[in-house]
Amino acid sequence: MAEIILEIDDLHASVDGTEILRGIDLTVRRGEVHAIMGPNGSGKSTLCNVLAGRDGYTVTAGTVRYDGQDLLALAPEERARAGVFLAFQYPVEIPGVGNTYFLRTALNAVRKHRGLEPLDAMDFLALVKAKMKLVDLDPKFLNRAVNEGFSGGEKKRNEILQMAVLEPRLAILDETDSGLDIDALKVVADGVNGLRNAEHAVVAITHYQRLLNYLVPDFVHVLAKGRIVRSGDKALAAELELKGYVDIEGAAA
């Protein structure tokens, strides 16, 4: 069996004093793709934000180990450099910061952590242009400010581009499929599939099953009221698509 990359044990977290995560247990091994599904308000985005280290989320109990270390003890940038990547549900527009400069700064921060030399502008450009083909994003986006004026689909593709450039070991997709038309969805799924190998792991958070037609998961978990209430293989996703979350929520109450 492959090595464990992420181990979440009895994770409790609250926002503004309200407990949102109420005891999450999850084990992810290298090479695996896990889908976490659940209705609105079940705690999907909170889980993502806690894993990425966003301010405003308080972990009240439990542990998260990533690659053998205490993930929660690391600052957000340290997690990113260690190979954790969060694809944002709502990527932030940053006027005045060029996409190229941003991405190169990020990549070189990650490379430095891995003991690699920084890439110069020429080498970086060659790399990023190759990756842009993968996500079907026009090179003109490199000259624009980060996400500024991008359509919803372009923002999501830009997230996948960043992921492709940074080559994380654990990618967490926070409803990356939401708001995408079918073509964009395929592009995003292809981008993630392109990264699949024995080393990398993916945790895809989604509300709908349709992403999983293209990004076939090894495991599907159902999150309800801050707990994982059911786990199974991809057949579970199909079942949820048919029956909805009503029964599950009833069971979690």
């Binding site: 990425a52 280290g53 966003r54 301010d55 600052a75 957000p76 940038e77 997690r79 990113a80 450099r81 990547f85 969060l86 944002f88 990527p91 932030v92 940053i94 006027p95 005045g96 910061v97 941003f102 991405l103 700064t105 990020a106 990549l107 921060a109 990650v110 952590h113 400010a145 980060v146 960043q162 940074l166």
Partner: protein, 438 residues
């Protein structure tokens, strides 16, 4: 010495200066009016609405002397460092034109770029109708004092239909020579009908001194003028500047003000549309840290129909710095179909930094499109987190965002050598400001 005694001393100085017989009559008359007005007004004090947030008491408590024409080594070095790579350089040391440090390339026939002192004599027919006509000596005490001491500064004249392809860089260097000096540079720009030019006014210096500058800009019909004001005075300096323009029909004024230095800086930048179809864009960027104080008062007076104005001022304040923005826009009854937009955005990087911002729109016409807004804030925390989530550390993320905030205005500067100079200056200045964050 008390403030009153100093003011008294300066009044005497100004009165004596106004009697200098060597200058043309119209200059003497201006000095005399300035001295008289200053005797009545004194330096502007916070009781005046326009000076409510900028207190010159600290300035009034010191004494300043006029500098002689000697060129201190430090000044020559600063002049060298601040040079722009191409174009015309007019260098002024402690208020006096320094021909040896300047470079004048050939100008089109009839165009003039040089010292105002010389122009008062050799181009009196152009200077006399404009000097003291836009910044009246009774505007306030600082304008009065400048008029009283009016002696030198830059003079730019662009004849009708002429386009100056190279920017004219007017560099004012102050370096105290033993005693704290004061300079009262006066700049006059006369842009003929359908002419085009770019003028950069830059202030640098070392030590304790006081710059009290006045600039008058007359734009003929259809003239296009870009005016950059770059304030990079020493950390101990006081900088007061009054820039006033008047625009004829269909003229366009681009005013860019960048304020980085000085212990206390105040700029009053105004234009008025005297005929239909005029347009202006006012851009401003101010950075202040430690205990710096920076104040911009702008005024755009739409007096005639179909005028367009755009104004964007951005400020970054750190440490215990304080800033003031006051933007007046007047739309007079005749100024129908005016289109005016104003925005002031501020980043406060510390709890002790502060900004007083006040948009002031007075609209007396009914067929107009006007908007204004002001923001005061910290960095967008979502953006900081986004950058950190990609591996960029907190300090770099903040620096990147602050740089982006300022960069919007730097990138609007289309005078390339100046833009490059400012990019380099900001690259060293911004990290210092960010570092002041506790």
């Amino acid at each position: 010495m008390t403030a009153a005694a100093i003011a008294d001393h300066q009044r005497h100085l100004a009165a004596a200066h106004s009697l200098d017989a060597a200058v043309p009559g119209f200059v003497r008359a201006l000095r005399q009016r300035g001295a008289e007005q200053f005797a009545g007004l004194g330096l502007p004090m916070p009781q005046l609405e326009d000076w409510k947030y900028t207190n010159l008491n600290v300035l009034a408590r010191q004494s300043f002397a006029l500098a002689d024409t000697a060129v201190p080594d430090a000044a020559a070095q600063l002049a060298q460092d601040a040079r722009l790579s191409d174009g015309i350089e007019l260098v002024f040391i402690n208020g006096h034109f320094a021909p040896l440090l300047s470079s004048l390339t050939d100008l089109p026939v009839g165009a003039v770029a040089g010292s105002l002192a010389e122009a008062m004599v050799h181009h009196a027919e152009i200077v006399a109708p404009h000097l003291g006509m836009l910044v009246l000596p009774d505007t306030d005490g600082s304008a009065a004092l400048n008029a009283a001491f009016a002696a030198d500064g830059a003079f730019v004249f662009v004849p009708e239909g002429i386009a100056l392809e190279v920017p004219i860089h007017c560099l004012f260097v102050s370096a105290a020579n033993g005693h704290a000096t004061m300079t009262h540079p006066r700049t006059l720009i006369v842009a003929g009908a359908c002419s085009r030019a770019t003028v950069i006014e830059q202030h640098v210096g070392v030590g304790t001194y006081w710059t009290n500058a006045v600039t008058e800009i007359a734009l003929g019909a259809g003239a296009v003028l870009t005016h950059h004001k770059v304030q990079r005075e020493s950390a101990e300096a006081f900088h007061l500047a009054t820039i006033t323009a008047a625009q004829a029909a269909d003229s366009q004024l681009g005013s860019h003000a960048v304020s980085l230095g000085a212990a206390l800086a105040r700029a009053t930048i105004s234009t008025r549309f005297d005929a239909p179809g005029a347009a202006c864009s006012f851009d401003g960027l101010y950075l202040a840290g430690e205990r710096q104080h920076v104040d911009h008062h702008t005024s755009i007076d739409h007096r005639q129909p179909r005028g367009t104005s755009r104004e964007l001022y951005k400020g970054i304040l750190a440490g215990r710095a304080s800033g003031v923005f006051n933007g007046k826009v007047f739309v007079r009854p005749d100024a129908q179909q005016t289109d005016a937009q104003q925005m002031n955005q501020n980043l406060l990087l510390s709890d002790d930094a502060q900004i007083d911002t006040k948009p002031q729109l007075e609209i007396f016409a009914d067929d107009v499109k006007c908007s204004h807004g002001a923001t005061i804030g910290q960095l967008d925390e979502d953006a900081v987190f986004y950058l950190r989530a990609r591996g960029i550390d907190m300090v770099d993320a903040r620096r990147l965002l602050i740089h982006a905030f300022a960069n919007e205005l730097v990138q609007r500067i289309d005078t390339e050598p100046l833009r490059h100079q400012l990019e380099a200056v900001l690259a060293t200045r911004l990290p210092v400001l960010v570092g002041e964050q506790p």
